[in-house]
């Protein structure tokens, strides 16, 4: 041992490799496939919007921490980068820079830092930013560029499949008629549809999900329970009246369902602690999404559904608890009787 004292600290003396910066890096890596597909479909606008959102989020978080709260800047944990990326994933690729700046300011400033920074925000910051923009700039936020690799920044715009569906139904068309105007399911799966930057390709997002599950960053509970709920609920309506309701596959592959299930609803800070709680949370988001999509005035409801369920997380946490060791004997009379029997049978 070279000169120097031994470190003395209480146990445990080893620690998992999965620390906050590692997790944040893992999430960023998981988002890259979706970004790549977006560049392929929408051109350089995707990169431009993503980089701008990341830059704004990081700078705003740094400024607030440094000059407003007067404490060390917390940008190195990588969470601001993720908020920026997720915000970008939720907006059209042709969004003007000043709207992105406003969105970032709302996401980081109001959604995150006003509550005390990382870990203290009740609502998903990126979604707070997105919903604020959606309500404030409805035209800019819903004019999506046409998918199909137009490598310029000003492309023609098109509607999303969900928008076509909603407007068509309002105009009195039936679902099978409207389906003929849509891209194929394969196009949906690989992302050749109109929509926000990172939400179109279910395939790319599923790659990200597999990566995050493999790294044990998230568990399957929230995405799977949410997707199954949406599939079941839309499936029931579809069976009841296929002329008025689209099939479950359509609902799963369009809009923000995949992005929401994998990246937005699984945010640690704003989702429940236990696996049981996560399932309740996922089911809740699924139900709300379907209700908004089928009966609400907005074509898409994932963002609202997640934000509403975020508000329920404290309640879910206080009910969906991990069973305590040793509580079994207090809970179940049957267990006690069985134990008694086991103990006396050998006497």
């Amino acid at each position: 041992m070279s000169a120097g004292l031994l470190t003395v600290s209480p146990s445990p003396h080893i620690h998992t490799d999965l620390t906050v910066p590692q997790i944040m890096r893992g999430v960023i890596i998981a988002m890259i496939p979706a970004l790549v597909f977006s560049v392929y479909n929408f051109g350089l606008g995707a990169v431009y919007v993503t980089l701008l959102a990341i830059l704004f989020c990081v700078v705003i978080e740094y400024s607030i921490a440094r000059y407003l709260l007067k404490r060390p800047a917390s940008i190195y944990d990588g969470s601001a980068v993720i908020t920026g990326m997720l915000l970008a994933f939720n907006v059209p690729t042709n969004l003007p820079w000043h709207i992105i700046l406003i969105g970032s300011a709302v996401a980081i400033g109001i959604g995150k830092m006003s509550f005390g920074g990382l870990g203290n925000n009740p609502f998903n910051p990126a979604l707070v930013g997105r919903v604020f923009l959606l309500l404030s700039f409805p035209v800019e936020m819903t004019s999506w560029p046409k998918a199909g690799a137009t490598w310029s920044l000003d492309a023609t715009t098109s509607a999303t499949p969900l928008g076509i569906l909603k407007d068509g139904l309002r105009a009195g068309d039936t679902v099978p008629e409207l389906m003929n105007q849509m891209p194929s399911y394969a196009d949906f799966f690989f992302g050749l549809q109109g929509g926000s930057l990172g939400e179109m390709s279910a395939f790319a997002i599923l790659l990200g999900l597999i990566y995050m599950l493999y790294r044990k960053i998230i568990t399957w509970h929230i995405p799977v329970s949410m997707l199954i709920t949406i599939a079941l609920m839309t499936g029931i309506f579809w069976l009841v009246d296929p002329t008025r309701f689209a099939n479950p596959l359509f609902h799963l592959l369009t809009g923000g369902v995949m992005l929401g299930a994998v990246f937005m609803a699984t945010d640690y800070v704003t989702s429940p602690f236990t696996h049981r709680g996560m399932i309740v949370f996922g089911v809740g988001i699924g139900v709300l999404t379907v209700v908004i999509r089928l009966f609400g005035s907005y074509p898409e409801g994932v963002s609202f559904a997640i934000l509403i369920m975020n508000a329920f997380v404290p309640i879910i946490n206080s009910y969906a608890k991990q069973p305590r060791y040793g509580s079994k004997s207090q809970r179940h009379k049957a267990y006690q009787e069985k134990l008694e029997k086991e103990l006396t049978s050998t006497k």
């Binding site: 041992m1 080893i14 704003t270 305590r324 060791y325 004997s329």
Partner: protein, 446 residues
């Protein structure tokens, strides 16, 4: 955690899977050469310190009694060497506190005549249950898994409690440690006799040895030896920390849960460690007190990770030299395993009855990294083997809200360290839980 295919049994509540790093698993036990000097603390166990019965200048033999137990929950302390008693003074032991200890200058190796030092296996158990317990008490046998609870106390079941199972803990769930593993490989027949002795003392008909499946060789040996035994079983368990905890082992093997604040005896079970079982065999059949034990010396940079048979009281430095010296990059030395062991500040700390290993941690892993805000990931809750909510206990203890913490069962915490291990924000969860527990215990005693 989700899609694991369970081949073997394990406990159900929480738990973690740290890398097991059993570097010394294939290294046979070698006796360490006699030290020049031993320092034997008179408290190496849970309970009252023993009362010293020797004086400075006395000549003692190996195995001679140095201090007798004071009260029932206490343990005899024997000389592990022969030689002359030196100063009796306060010495820092592995807990970091100072305790009275007897220094002995080693001269020769002259054993008490009554001790059978041969290797012959003595299978026949001649003693009555009462005699067994008293021999175990005389020999100063304590739990060798780490907690060092006097074994005779565990064997004296309170009236009204009926015991139907003896569980033998061969789990060794702490990463790095291999002492129990080696004892199981090298002394299986003795351990089986030890089990029979314990069964006789307790009057139970069933015993199960629980071994994690990263020790397949040990499982196989016991399965072979116990082929014709109806009353003793072997159960392979999935590698899962902290399975070696009494409560977790009971849940894993019998699917019973010890009630909050209760003892294993409340659900009809007594648990003993394999190392202790071997010490019981030696105490009862060979009349040999607990004066030596197997200690693993290990670490990523250690030249020769080893398992040594060490006399109690040997300074840690002797073991480190025998294992190839202290590596340049050592930043922390831990007495015990990496999850529950205690960091020592001094290389003269003596090996005690409960010291299962010495772990050398390199500098880059020795200090804790930056602490972030709690991100509410829930990993500590999923990891807690007692089903507690560690992140909340931390907040309560920090605020001094001990009453609330007690209502949230802070006293159920077994201090396994799983919460601190998994916390991605490096929060000092267990540190604060310990603080809260200590404050509660202080309030109680006032």
């Amino acid at each position: 955690m989700a899609m694991r295919l369970n081949k073997h049994k394990t406990f159900k509540t929480g738990g973690i899977h740290p890398h097991d790093n059993k570097l010394s698993a294939q290294v046979a036990i070698t006796p360490l050469s006699l030290p020049k000097m031993v320092t034997i603390p008179i408290i190496q166990h849970i309970g009252a310190p023993a009362k010293i019965v020797v004086q400075r200048g006395d000549i003692v033999k190996t195995g001679q009694i140095l201090a007798t137990h004071e009260g029932f929950v206490s343990s005899n302390i024997h000389s592990s060497v022969s030689g002359r008693i030196g100063v009796i003074e306060e010495v820092m032991d592995s807990t970091g506190f100072k305790h009275t200890a007897v220094n002995i200058r080693v001269k020769g190796d002259d054993w008490e005549e009554a001790i059978d030092r041969t290797d012959t296996l003595v299978e026949e158990i001649k003693f009555s249950p009462k005699e067994i317990v008293s021999r175990i008490m005389e020999a100063g046998v304590v739990g060798m898994g780490g907690a060092a609870f006097p074994s005779h106390v565990k064997l004296s079941v309170p009236e009204g409690k009926h015991i139907d199972h003896l569980l033998i803990n061969g789990v060794e769930c702490e990463p790095y440690l291999t002492a129990d593993h080696r004892v199981m490989l090298e002394k299986p027949k003795e351990i089986i006799v030890g089990i029979k002795i314990l069964m006789k003392a307790l009057g139970v008909q069933k015993a199960i040895i629980g071994i994690e499946d990263n020790k397949a060789d040990a499982i196989e040996i016991f399965q072979q030896l116990l082929k014709n035994e109806k009353h003793i079983g072997v159960e392979a368990l999935e590698v899962h920390y902290p399975q070696g905890g009494e409560k977790q082992l009971i849940q894993a093997l019998l699917n019973r849960e010890v009630p909050s604040g209760g003892l294993p005896a409340d659900v009809g079970v007594i648990v003993h460690n394999v190392g202790t079982t071997y010490a019981v065999y030696e105490a009862v059949q060979k009349n040999k007190p607990l004066i030596e034990r197997v200690v693993t010396v290990t670490g990523k940079s250690v030249k020769q990770p080893s398992n040594f048979l060490v006399r109690i009281g040997t300074p840690v430095i002797d073991l480190l030299i025998a294992a190839g010296g202290v590596p340049e990059d050592t930043g922390k030395i831990v007495s015990g395993g990496p999850m529950m062991g205690k960091a020592i500040a001094d290389l003269d700390v003596p090996i005690a009855k409960g010291t299962s290993g010495i772990l050398l941690i390199p500098k880059d892993e020795a200090s804790r990294s930056e602490v972030y805000n709690c991100v509410h990931c829930g990993k500590c809750i999923e990891a807690c083997p007692m089903g507690l909510e560690p992140y909340r206990l931390l907040i309560m203890s920090k605020k001094g809200n001990n009453k609330r913490a007690k209502e949230e069962h802070i006293l159920d915490c077994i201090e396994c360290g799983s919460c601190s291990f998994v916390c991605p924000s490096n929060r000092p969860i267990l540190d604060y839980i310990r603080l809260g527990k200590t404050q509660l215990k202080k309030q109680k005693s006032v």
